[in-house]
């Protein structure tokens, strides 16, 4: 039957003018293509949304799925510029997408899909003069979803806001199983395996890797459940989350590509011929037996053998590396490896380099960080070495800015090397080191700040180790900016905790209460719903023993209470309503109401104004019934508490006693 209407999966006439090939070659490639070109996207559409939409045509039952998504990027700014490549595992999936997705709407735009002969390196960048797509340069009208010629500044600003809102930590590293195990307890992702596979698939893409390192988000291969949960269209994922890939020379691809077929059992390796493997007792009995893979069981049989002999040798290092690559939570194996390294007087710097690679793959493993910490303890780096280590940790945080282990390690590093005993050289850090760290922490909390990786030029002549992974601030070398690898985020609670440590809690800190209060208030003005900023403000007041009412004038604009004179809690200084909230922010902010109520409680307890008890109770009730209903039980608890204190104080006042100071 002939087609009355044009087939939906008919490829369009677009062709890659940069490709040098005949029409026949091109058509032959298209006939089997698994890749789609997707156009007319909004600049604000994220990889996650694209993944969500296009996975509807994925067919996992046939071994299919989305292999990867390559966002089209503005050549200069490295920000999305309105197109993308979606690569499936199956041709049929690409065809299905042509049929069912092309012409549908994404982010209020009709998107267009074409079969593509296949992505090749370099095509991810826009080819227009501006760095974006050529078609945007011929368009004269302003397009709300794509910006326009001359609207670059606006676009950048919008984008920064969009990303800020979408800055969820989808890696959700909940302390790697705060469960009871000393090693990790499975979190959802524990069940998914084989990250190794991805190494294999990418082997043929070495050329891409330098660019991959920062610009691609390879969603298709992150098939663990943690990512799945993040791949919802309403949880945008920013480019900055892409995991830096290991450099091409990295060892991991060699070991990792050791597939089951090519695996050589230890019994068949000449260097292990003298060892009699020690089998595990009742491996498949008892509680929760694990269906060990043949490779793991084999390696463990030899591990038990060498432990029973207490052998310390190079092959022990090979064996333990093999096991921890498969099983990075294996604390006994890590421990044996560390002891072996020390007994053989191995170069621990080499081991540290191996750990750099491990850290990228296993950000959530306690053991990887523990091993690193042990190495650094033994290496005793000088300030220069510590700087390199700190740069590495800073960079490790970029794809996962709230990773608890990484922050814990950073905290340990500073604490350990600033408190060394004199016999080991004492404090390694200078005032300048702390100042640098404070600057970095401020950037982490600055929602407008962009962290950049090394520029392309720097990557090419990467001879100097100092240049590697160094974060270059935005305003430096404007000529050749590196790609954006991360952004500051005023809501990053981990960074707030680090600020507290740096500015207030650490030995040698010289805290200035005014600076801390003003910093928190400025962050509240920028993002009025930012829980971290409010908590920091509250914590600082308590720590420095400053009455909450002192910050009340700055907070009142967020309460939407129009006449401040009704508020008894404002002390002597008249309210300054100059710091009005952004008019777009819906008021009141529950945090501000809570602050007001707590100020009233503070006043009431101090005996200044007995009607404050009722005012406070009234606001708690408002919170319970209207503004923060989820916590109604808590607000009623606060309400009845302050009323009880009020009645107790009232009784005592009648008796002529001092007003009660009810709570310590």
């Amino acid at each position: 039957m002939s087609h009355v209407v044009e087939r939906l999966d008919h490829p369009s006439s677009y062709k890659d003018h940069h490709a040098r090939e005949s029409r026949e070659e091109r058509e032959a490639r298209l006939a089997n293509s698994k890749t789609l070109y997707v156009g007319n996207l909004s600049f604000y559409t994220t990889e996650a949304q694209i993944y969500e939409l296009f996975s509807q045509c994925a067919d996992p039952t046939q071994g299919g799925g989305i292999k990867r998504i390559i966002m089209g990027l503005d050549r200069n700014t490295k920000t999305p510029c309105g197109f993308a490549f979606v690569e499936y595992y199956l041709h049929s999936e690409a065809l299905a997408s042509m049929r069912y997705i092309s012409g549908t709407k994404l982010d209020e735009r009709v998107i267009r899909c074409d079969l593509d002969p296949g992505y090749i390196e370099g095509r991810q960048f826009g080819r227009g003069k501006s760095g974006g797509q050529v078609r945007d340069e011929y368009r004269e009208e302003y397009d709300g979803g794509r910006g326009g010629w001359g609207h670059d500044v606006l676009r950048r600003q919008n984008q920064a806001e969009k990303r800020l809102q979408g800055h969820y930590d989808t890696y959700a590293s909940e302390v790697g199983g705060l469960g009871m195990a000393g090693a990790d307890v499975p979190t959802g992702e524990g069940y998914e395996r084989d990250n190794r596979k991805r190494g294999r698939e990418e082997d043929d893409e070495d050329d891409d890797r330098i660019h991959n390192k920062f610009t691609f988000l390879k969603l298709g291969i992150q098939n663990n459940s943690a990512s799945d949960s993040s791949l919802k269209a309403d949880r945008p994922v920013s480019n900055s989350r892409s995991i830096p890939e290991a450099p091409p020379e990295s060892k991991i691809f060699n070991i990792a590509s050791m597939s089951d077929e090519s695996y050589i059992p230890y019994g068949e390796r000449p260097e292990w011929r003298d060892v009699e493997p020690v089998l595990q007792k009742d491996a498949q009995d008892g509680l929760v037996p694990i269906a060990y893979s043949a490779e793991y069981a084999d390696a463990m049989n030899y591990f038990r053998a060498i432990v029973s002999k207490n052998e310390r040798s190079d092959r022990v290092l090979d064996l333990t590396e093999h096991i921890i690559r498969r099983n990075p939570a294996h604390y006994t194996v890590w421990q044996y490896r560390m002891e072996t390294l020390l007994q053989l007087h191995k170069d621990l710097q080499t081991e540290l380099e191996l750990m750099n690679e491990f850290a990228e793959e296993n950000l959530k493993s306690y053991q990887v960080w523990h091993h690193r910490l042990t190495l650094i303890t033994h290496l005793q780096p000088d300030l220069q070495g510590l700087r390199r280590e700190i740069d590495f940790i800073h960079n490790s945080l970029m794809p996962d800015t709230k990773n608890y282990h990484t922050w814990a390690y950073l905290n340990w590093l500073y604490s350990h090397f600033s408190n060394l005993p004199e016999s080991q050289g004492g404090n390694r850090f200078t005032e300048e080191s702390w100042a640098e760290e404070i600057t970095w922490c401020n950037n982490m909390l600055d929602s407008d700040f962009k962290f950049r990786g090394p520029s392309a030029a720097a990557l090419i002549d990467e001879a100097s180790p100092e240049g590697q992974g160094k974060i270059v601030p935005l305003d430096e070398n404007t000529e050749e900016e590196g790609p954006i690898i991360g952004r500051g985020d005023g809501r990053n609670n981990s960074a707030w905790s680090w600020r507290w440590h740096l500015m207030i809690a650490r030995n040698g800190a010289k805290p200035d209460p005014v600076v801390e209060l003003e910093y928190a208030l400025s962050q509240i003005r920028a993002i009025p719903h930012n829980a971290s900023a409010w908590n920091y403000l509250r914590g600082a007041h308590k720590h420095f023993k400053i009455p909450l009412s002192q910050s009340l004038p700055a907070i009142l604009p967020f309460t939407s209470i129009p006449v401040p004179s009704l508020v008894s809690a404002i002390p002597h200084n008249p309210p300054q309503l100059t710091t009005a909230a952004n008019p777009d922010t819906p008021l009141p902010i529950p945090f501000a109401l809570e602050w007001l109520a707590d100020c009233e409680s503070e006043q009431a307890v101090a005996g200044a104004n007995s009607s404050s008890y009722e005012r406070a109770a009234g606001i708690y009730q408002e919170l319970a019934e209207r503004w923060d209903v989820m916590r109604k039980t808590y607000w009623r608890y606060r309400q009845s508490d302050i009323l009880r204190q009020g009645s107790a104080a009232g009784v005592e006042a009648v008796n002529g006693n001092q007003p009660a100071v009810a709570s310590a």
Binding site: V175, A183, V307, A505, F591, D628
Partner: protein, 464 residues
């Protein structure tokens, strides 16, 4: 339409599947099989499905497996992965106690599993090495009051080559380990001095836990003596845990680290288990209870909440830290911590139960959040949280919180709203939020341990 039916059978099947065989994908947890087992068995216990699912023989076989994890140096290890098939091969691994040693979390979960499986009381008497437990606690304790998951030193330093110093800094000596140590210590101490127990109301015995504290102080007479003898010290541990409380009100994993829902539970529960610093003080007198309460209630997501403009699908579940996503395990950590702190749940238990029910996996169990693949850790903690929500009335009738706070002695008609639950009855056993096991199992463990000490004293008197 949110899912509100409790998939009892699917959950039972999920935990039974995990007990039968875990896939090779979880080889990473090979060292922690006993903890996986605890999650599965404690869940089946709460579901009242253990006896109906497994024969007495099967349970006894498992009990034997758990006893085999006990180490001569003290405590239990996490699995058999270092146990050679033939005994002659084990010569060296036994000689080197630092390989696969007793492990604090595994010891805690082993003891609970023995209780859940109802290991006969004679076996507790004949097989449990209570002195070994004490040794493990002492050798894992660090001089700053924290606990390491594995021993930091040998119990009795000898001239042998094995007296290597701790091979690495105790990075993992965190609040989780303190919690495991505190439960083990609690088990031992209460069994050792049964006269301090309040029969039948074991948990409330902890509420006014001063008797135990007197014991602890007694054994702690000389702080410097304890330090030099390498014994653990309640006083130092309390100081260390107190230092974990942060500007946010929650507790971090170490002093100076960001607060987190899970470590907040561990720290608060440990402090309560360790009792009061002095007979006239409350157990919680060393921490800021109001700030901790505020931190915990703020972790519940939803409504016009602390997350303000963040969109939530109804909410009701908990996050682990500000700015993070909902995760079912924090319904236990935060909800449990609140109950330990205040003896009541001052959060929206209904919304929490609904969020948990909605997050059930269609194949049984729970993942981190709705739609995630289930795993034993999240599945167990979600069920434990549901058990606490459901038994809120049973755990804590609407009496005022006597200890811990001193607030709310009157005018609290509105505060306890557990009577009008919109969530259908689920039918889970009551959970002890301190030990994290069913109340029934806790009582059984206490009985067995008391029998152990009675026997021990009888023997020592007989031989004296």
């Amino acid at each position: 339409m949110p899912q509100l039916t409790f998939k009892r059978n699917a959950h039972i099947s999920f935990f039974k599947r995990c007990l039968t065989m875990l896939p090779s994908a979880v080889e990473g947890y090979d060292g922690n099989r006993i903890t996986m087992a605890y999650f599965c068995l404690s869940a089946l216990d709460l579901l009242e499905a253990l006896e109906t699912s497994y024969t007495a023989e099967k349970r006894q076989e498992w009990v034997r497996w758990v006893w085999a994890l006990q180490k001569t140096e003290g405590g239990f290890s996490g699995s058999t992965f270092m146990t050679p098939a033939h005994s002659h091969e084990s010569e060296h691994t036994q000689k080197n106690p630092l390989m696969n040693p007793g492990h604090l979390p595994s010891t805690y979960t082993s003891l609970l599993v023995l209780g859940i499986l109802r290991a006969p009381v004679e076996e507790w008497i004949n097989k449990l090495d209570v002195d070994g437990l004490e040794r493990l606690l002492d050798t894992c304790s660090d001089s700053n009051g924290s606990f390491s998951p594995i021993p930091l030193r040998l119990p009795e330093p000898t001239a042998s080559t094995a007296t290597t110093p701790p091979y690495s800094p105790p990075f993992q000596s965190d609040a989780r380990m303190a919690y495991c140590a505190a439960v083990i210590d609690d088990m031992i101490t209460h069994a050792k001095y049964p006269e301090f127990n309040t029969p039948g109301t074991a948990d409330q015995g902890r509420t006014t836990a001063s008797p135990k504290e007197i014991v602890a102080l007694d054994s702690d007479v000389s702080e410097s003596a304890a330090r030099s003898s390498g014994r653990r010290s309640t006083k130092r541990t309390r100081q260390w845990l107190t230092a974990c409380q942060t500007w946010e009100g929650g507790f971090g994993q170490h002093p100076g680290l960001e607060a987190q829902g899970g470590t907040t539970y561990c720290a608060i529960a440990s402090l309560r288990l360790m009792g009061s610093p002095a007979p006239t003080e409350k157990w919680s007198s060393c921490i800021d209870v109001d700030a901790a309460t505020r931190y915990l209630v703020s972790r519940q997501l939803g409504g016009l909440s602390s997350e303000g403009d963040e969109e939530t699908d109804g909410g009701g579940g908990f996050q682990g830290r500000p700015g993070k996503l909902e995760d079912v395990c924090y319904s236990f950590w935060c909800g449990g911590a609140m109950r330990v702190l205040l003896d009541k749940a001052i959060f929206d238990t209904d919304a929490n139960s609904r969020a948990l029910l909605d997050a059930q996996s269609p194949i049984g169990g729970f993942g981190k959040a709705k739609g995630d693949r289930p795993d034993p850790y999240h599945a167990y903690l979600a069920i434990a949280a549901l058990a606490m929500d459901e038994n809120e009335d049973a755990c804590d009738p609407s009496e005022p919180a006597v200890e811990g706070h001193g607030h709310l002695s009157g005018a609290n008609e509105n505060t306890v709203e557990t009577s009008r639950r919109s969530v259908p009855k689920i039918g889970l056993k009551a959970l002890d939020p301190l030990w994290n096991v069913s109340m029934e199992t806790r009582s059984y463990i206490e009985e067995c341990l008391q029998a152990v000490f009675q026997h021990k004293y009888a023997v020592s008197r007989g031989t004296a």
